[in-house]
């Protein structure tokens, strides 16, 4: 916030002051080839059975995560549990509409997550803007900015729908199709361009993990 009024912050990490260079990565993300078939299958099974959700309630969909965590729907049964830090979590649940201000945090949190990472987007508003199609502050398609694995439609999706969505995510992971991290690395330029088009005061480094 403080550097907003001052000089424009250089975008690429080469321009960072020397003191801050060490805080950020200085290489663009790269794609990771999957391991040998049988190993990767086993790992994918483990990944699908241990989904750690980043505890970041980005929108009103977060209110249905509470019942999901608690005893009525109990997502722990399926190996899903919340995790407060992006470094350790593997699933990012976009809880509905994302305002531009939140999108900035979403991008940052997403990039800080360790791969393979998965994104579940809740609600109609992440798919095509939903109810806020003419709002000046909410984006309409979240998949323009980060890769999305599963959409759960509804306003808002019920906990049962969320559970079904997570089962679908597990199926995708086990089939080895949830390669959001590699997609992001492959189309890094495009995603960054999209993000910068929307986030007008881009005051963070490009590689911020």
């Amino acid at each position: 916030m403080s550097d907003k009024k001052g000089k424009p912050v250089p975008l690429a990490n080469e321009g960072l002051p020397p003191g801050e260079r060490g805080l950020f990565c200085d290489a663009p993300p790269r794609e990771y080839a999957p391991a040998a078939k049988i190993v990767e299958d086993f790992w994918n099974w483990a990944r699908s059975q241990s989904l750690w959700i980043l505890g970041f309630g980005t929108g009103c969909g977060a209110i249905e995560l509470r019942p999901l965590m608690t005893s009525r729907y109990d997502m722990y049964r399926f190996g899903i549990q919340p995790r407060p830090t992006p470094r350790q979590s593997s699933v990012f649940v976009i809880g509905g509409y994302a305002s531009v201000k939140t999108l900035k945090r979403i991008v940052r949190s997403y990039e800080q997550m360790m791969g393979p990472k998965f994104v579940v987007a809740l609600g109609s508003c992440t798919i095509n803007g939903g109810m806020y199609w003419d709002s000046y502050n909410t984006i309409k398609r979240i998949d323009q900015y980060i890769p999305v694995d599963v959409y759960i439609a509804g306003c808002m999706p019920r906990p049962e729908a969320l559970l079904a969505g997570f089962q679908e995510l597990k199926r995708i992971i086990r089939a080895g199709k949830a390669e959001g991290q590699n997609l992001y690395a492959r189309d890094f330029e495009r995603y960054k361009a999209n993000q910068k088009r929307v986030i007008k005061d881009w005051n963070m480094p490009d590689y911020n993990w």
């Binding site: 095509n128 199609w133 709002s135 000046y136 984006i139």
Partner: protein
């Protein structure tokens, strides 16, 4: 209520007293007298609770109409105090010393309508928006849909219809014929 209305008009030249309900009235004062009126209402008349403050864009008359809502818990009566300021030079006196929460409302009006409140804390900081480059977005001449279409990518396949025409077409197709 009558005597309060008389008192306000006598002391501060308030006008257009209107009783909307038995527990809600509205009154209009000059912008230069607003702080005095609010101070008097707060300290002398028992209207100690500021419920909210907001602005309405009267683009046709080229003014912003500000509304300060004060409430008296003793008599369970609220007053909407209005004042009007020029839309082209929107500057208003700050009341952040009267109520501890007033500065947030003023910050909001500064960002949403572009009304300046000199001296109000953090009034020039962004409030809910970040990196906003367009005009103050709650003004009537800001078109939200055009901005949204120009800025945010849309997923193809979404159609927007006029509800009246669509209903007519779907439910009463014979009405046209």
């Amino acid at each position: 209520m009558r005597e309060l209305a008389d008192m306000l008009s006598g002391r501060y030249g308030a006008r257009e007293w209107h009783d909307q309900r038995k527990d809600l009235s509205s009154v209009t004062v000059d912008a230069s007298k607003l702080r005095d009126v609010l101070t008097w209402l707060r300290d002398e008349a028992g209207y100690a609770h500021l419920a909210f403050a907001t602005a309405v864009d009267e683009i046709e008359r080229k003014v912003f109409r500000l509304t300060y809502t004060v409430h008296n818990y003793g008599t369970a009566h609220g007053i909407l105090v209005h004042c009007e300021i020029d839309r082209d030079r929107p500057v208003m006196e700050s009341i952040h010393r009267l109520w501890g929460q007033a500065w947030t409302y003023q910050r909001e009006m500064r960002e949403w309508y572009g009304i300046d409140f000199p001296g109000s804390p953090r009034v020039d900081e962004e409030f809910v928006l970040e990196g906003w480059e367009g005009p103050p977005m709650m003004r009537r001449d800001f078109d939200s849909l055009a901005y949204s279409d120009a800025t945010y990518a849309e997923r193809p396949g979404r159609e927007t219809r006029d509800p009246a025409a669509y209903m007519k077409e779907k439910l009463y197709p014979e009405a046209d014929a």
